[in-house]
Amino acid sequence: MSDLLAFENVWLEYGEKIVLERVDLAIAERSFVSIVGPSGAGKSSFLRLVLGQEAPTQGRILLDGKRLTPECGPDRGVVFQRYSVFPHLTALRNVMFGRECTDARFTARLFGAARRAAAEEAEAMLTEVGLGDALHLYPAQLSGGMQQRLAIAQALMARPRLLLLDEPFGALDPGIRQDMHRLILRLWREHALTVLMVTHDISEAFGLGTRVLAFDKRRIDPHAPHRFGATAVYDLELTRKRRAAAPEIPKEVLRLTESVITNTQDSL
């Protein structure tokens, strides 16, 4: 498998504050990468870099060997924890939106045969994520889990090279979350996706991922904590077999988990 996404000595700084330092990574095509780490360890900044919402201060990010432009594009799809569907469009129109934008540059609306084709494709995609009965409902009429299904269907319509998930299941009930795990794994296999998923849930990270990245700061200067940035401190390849047989989670990662939990409790 070839590398789809490569980080070469990437730094991200906001003025004095260093958020990410010396990030060197290569992400293979068709992998499912989970990203964990305590709050404020640059997980979301990392995702923003890949998304093109921000440009690295130093270093290069390559997608398919080409330098990434610091702007969002249809080669990278995204699903956020919330607000990633459009409240004023029905489920069907939400999923058709991408096609309407790429095929009708000026009106962003399709008519006639092109519209029917797009609607059919969108309907098939919605059926695939289990929203075949909710085509004409508005997002406000859908439950949280259904909204996330819609957001996934919407992202997949654009056939992205890379699918980014930012705590996509964080706001869902545990039972619903299980269904969503099965769904995303199935879509990942059937659509041959490459997925980057940020999550707070360690078991989710190991349960879904073929690879787990743990972000944290390597060193901390107590007098100037902002002067050291975070990076991928652990990088674990999970083989298919290990994933199936409830993997043994390394001690260091467990320690990280605890720090996540304490951080979460602190913030509560």
């Binding site: 799809g77 934008c101 009106t107």
Partner: protein, 271 residues
């Protein structure tokens, strides 16, 4: 049961809502009757019969000078001014508000200007408007536009700028250009907000209309009440004021209905 948990149903709400209005009417009738028992020719609190008699002339008898049915001509003139002005307000606010809300660079450039114009009391500009546009219709319409538009622009620009960043990012990852973002994401979500803003602006708009008509006009609801004030004609002023309130309420209801019909999605969350 605690007072905070007592919730009237729909029918009782209507009855409860009508009650204070009824009380006001009854109190007025009593006061009028008392004043008239002391002085049968009292002009300050006219009886309903006096109001009907005074209004009858304005409603059905043509004015010998102009040939108009005065009441209806006044209403038409005022509504025309208000309608033209609010139309201009809505269109320009939509245009400018969208640009300011979507483009951070435009907001940085023109945000200060809009705010400066917004803090000027519009009535203070009325003399300037009369000097620049003369005493005709333009000045009156301009007063309403200047009074209402900056508020609408700021409200819309804030609303669009506060759309979740996630939505805009998502649209961009689906291939949307700036133009498509404006057309398909910002505009549809701005429209129900614009209607809500217009509803809130109806009050100020009427204030500016009546002020402009009071200062320089020869027709209009505001002109009429300020004219008959010279003769202490409360029997005309009170029906006119009631009529203005009724028109304002009807316009508000119509806008609310328009929003609910055209933008059902925007009203689902609150249901």
């Amino acid at each position: 049961m605690r007072w905070v948990n007592i919730r009237p149903n729909r029918r009782n709400s209507l009855i409860l809502g009508a009650l204070p209005l009824l009380v006001v009417v009854v109190v007025y009738l009593f006061a009028a009757a008392i004043r008239h028992s002391a002085n049968p020719s009292d002009k300050i609190l006219p009886t309903p019969a006096a109001m009907v008699a005074a209004m009858h002339g304005l409603l059905v008898d043509a004015d010998p000078l102009s040939g108009h049915l005065i009441f209806w001509a006044d209403t038409l003139a005022s509504l025309e001014r208000l309608g033209i002005a609010l139309g201009i307000c809505a269109l320009s606010a939509l245009l400018v508000g969208m640009v300011l809300g979507i483009l951070p660079a435009a907001r940085a450039t023109f945000g200060g200007l809009v705010m400066t114009v917004a803090v000027i009391p519009p009535i203070a500009l009325l003399p300037i408007l009369f000097i620049v546009f003369g005493l005709g219709e333009t000045a009156k319409v301009a007063l309403i536009v200047i009074g209402v538009t900056p508020f609408l622009i700021r409200d819309l620009a804030d609303h669009i700028a506060a759309l979740p960043q996630e939505q805009l990012i998502k649209a961009q990852t689906l291939g949307a250009s700036s133009w498509q973002l404006a057309l398909r994401i910002a505009l549809p979500q701005a429209l129900p907000r614009l209607i809500a803003g217009l509803r809130l602006s109806l009050g100020p708009a009427w204030v500016y209309l009546i002020s402009a008509e009071a200062v320089a006009s020869d027709i209009g609801l505001g002109y009429r009440i300020f004219l008959v004030r010279r003769y202490l004609s409360m029997d005309i002023i009170i029906p006119y004021v009631a009529w203005i309130s009724l028109l304002a309420i009807l316009m508000d209801l119509a806008l609310a209905q328009l929003s609910r019909r055209s933008f059902a999605w925007a009203h689902q969350a609150s249901r």
